[in-house]
């Protein structure tokens, strides 16, 4: 393309960059700065403490546990709705009567406020009168009083399921978009050559959807890292820290310990981790 096009390109990104700088970049840089201070929430006086915040955070067992929990949560709460959303999208793409309605109805989950979702899943997995315990009792498994949210081993499962339920529609919507952008001609041609479903999936559908799939996964991971509502309301990070995530830890550090410096430190570590991740990702994209 011609040289003048370059300026058109710049002009088109300008609004995005302007909003980004005002809303994200300035507060972000400010936070990194704060991570080297002992600034508390309330007073405007603070002094520089160097790397002290970082040292403290890395030595804290709470942080390490939260990091581990976050990795588990992000992995499963991204993988489950991704696979489920893909299968559901393929199913609804069979174009049977009512598929459109079902697709719309699926989106309801995603529109329901996070607090309501948390309570819904708390009811479902309630110890004394939850439907899951009732069901298990009726088919003869367990005594019907298993404490799902009160046990360190199972609380995370409920949190992941609730999040999967909330986000599956989103994955479905994105993957449907990808599915529908695949060219039919190519599939027809492959069929002529006698390709099986599996071959079509592997050779045409997945490569065709790859950009959308990658984007969906990346955004899903980042979204889950940010996610806060469900672990906060459903389990309050417990029991015994079993569902404390980096997002809830940051929130607690800022809003219940009122230590800005330390909260900003966790935030910075978090951004660095993501930075490494996106660096590797963009390296890969560049290679492709």
């Amino acid at each position: 393309m011609k040289l003048t096009d370059k300026y058109v390109g710049y002009i088109l990104v300008l609004p995005a960059i302007a909003i980004f700088c005002a809303i994200i970049l300035y507060p972000f840089i400010n936070s990194i700065f704060l991570s080297f201070t002992n600034k508390s929430f309330v007073s405007n006086e603070f002094s520089f403490v160097g790397l002290q915040n970082y040292k403290k955070i890395f030595l804290s067992p709470t942080f390490l546990q939260a990091l581990k929990n976050t990795l588990i949560f992000v992995f499963f709460a991204t993988a489950l709705p991704f696979v489920g959303g893909l299968i559901w999208a393929i199913f609804l793409d069979l174009k049977f009567r009512g598929a459109g309605f079902l697709r719309g109805a699926t989106l309801v989950n995603w529109i329901i406020p996070g607090a309501s979702i948390s309570f819904l899943w708390a009811f479902i997995f309630d110890t004394n009168r939850g439907i899951v315990n009732e069901f298990l009792k009726n088919i003869g498994i367990g005594s019907g009083t298993y404490n799902w949210l009160g046990s360190a081993e199972t609380a995370m499962i409920v949190v992941i399921l609730a999040r999967t339920w909330q986000m599956l529609p989103w994955y479905m919507a994105f993957l449907t978009g990808g599915l529908q952008s695949i060219s039919f001609d190519q599939i027809e041609a492959a069929r002529m050559d006698g390709a099986s479903n599996w071959t079509v999936l592997r050779k045409i559908v997945i490569p065709g959807m790859k950009p959308i799939m990658v984007i969906t996964l990346v955004l899903g991971i980042i979204g889950n890292l940010q996610h806060f509502d469900i672990p906060q309301v459903l389990t309050a990070g417990g029991p015994a820290g079993a569902t404390t995530m980096l997002s809830t830890l940051v929130y607690r550090e800022a809003f219940s310990s009122y230590r800005m410096g330390s909260a900003a430190t966790i935030g910075t570590i978090w951004a660095i981790l993501l930075g490494i991740f996106s660096f590797l990702y963009s390296k890969k994209v560049a290679r492709d």
């Binding site: 058109v8 309501s116 009168r129 439907i131």
Partner: protein, 276 residues
């Protein structure tokens, strides 16, 4: 797309049933809870044992909730509209232009979601106050647009990437300006991506609690997520049954809009396929 062989049928049926139950049973349970009297909230009973529509009636005749709903619709629509436009421009630029700093700008935008939002809020709140924007929807919408940018830009870039450059070249030969190229040639072909972005952005604003709670204090301007929490999760009492009813009621108009949009979603696609 797939041949309906026996193996495929068995596979898709089993998984469709499992996923279908997983999606719709909790939804049914939510409606079930909302249809019972509050004292039965915690039971496994089905609603016909103590059927009541009081919860729904209370919500529908509650002017406050309707105000919250209107505010949320307004904020979500507007920020969805604006962020889709901004993301579309940016995505198009990243996809079809080559200039210095493009790659770094792209990763920079991705960073918008890479830092805990709770921390950003603290600086943002003071900043909005200095600009006298606190308490206005502008501050809220600007934040929503910023947080949706990475999703929007990257999704739309992926869609534009799939469109051949030759389309632009031939349009330029025909004497079309950039504005026309974007809105009349590229936009229709990227409709699925545009709709996905718009929906994502809509739901982001719709579900946000923390920012809305902090930046908007006037009751008349409050949006749904904080409004519902405030109304139903109190110091002494949580009215869960009515909260469930309210959550269902408010999601109905949005679902209808989404179902309506689907038609455009699909027609946009077929149009694209024909042109290709």
């Amino acid at each position: 797309m797939f041949e309906k062989s026996r193996g495929f049928k068995v596979f898709i049926t089993i998984f469709a049933i499992v996923i279908g139950i997983f999606i719709f049973f909790p939804l049914f349970w939510m409606i079930n809870t909302a249809l019972k009297s509050p004292s039965k909230t915690y039971t496994v009973d089905l609603f016909f044992s103590s059927f009541t529509i009081d919860n729904f009636k209370n919500v529908l005749f509650d002017r406050q909730i309707l105000t919250y709903l209107r505010n949320s619709l307004f904020v979500s629509f507007t920020s969805s509209f604006l962020s889709t436009i901004v993301s579309m421009f940016a995505g198009f630029s990243f996809s079809k232009f080559r200039y210095r700093g493009r790659a770094s700008l792209m990763s920079l935008i991705m960073m918008a979601q890479a830092f805990p939002q709770a921390i950003l809020l603290l600086t943002l709140y003071t900043m909005m106050q200095k600009l006298r924007l606190d308490g206005s929807y502008i501050s809220l919408m600007l934040s929503y647009i910023a947080f949706v940018l990475p999703v929007g830009t990257w999704t739309l870039k992926a869609y534009f990437d799939q469109l051949p450059d030759s389309l632009i070249e031939s349009a330029k030969v025909d004497g079309a300006g950039w504005f026309r190229i974007i809105f009349q040639i590229m936009f229709p072909l990227a409709v699925p991506g545009v709709i996905s972005t718009a929906i994502y952005s809509f739901v982001w604003s719709w579900n946000d609690l923390l920012y809305s709670l902090t930046l908007i204090t006037e009751d008349a301007k409050r949006t749904l997520a904080p409004g519902l929490v405030m109304k139903y999760m109190g110091e002494f009492n949580n009215n869960w049954a009515e909260m469930m009813a309210a959550s269902i009621v408010v999601s109905i108009p949005v679902t209808i809009i989404f179902i309506l949009l689907q038609k455009y979603f699909i027609s946009g696609l077929t149009a694209g396929a024909v042109k290709e």
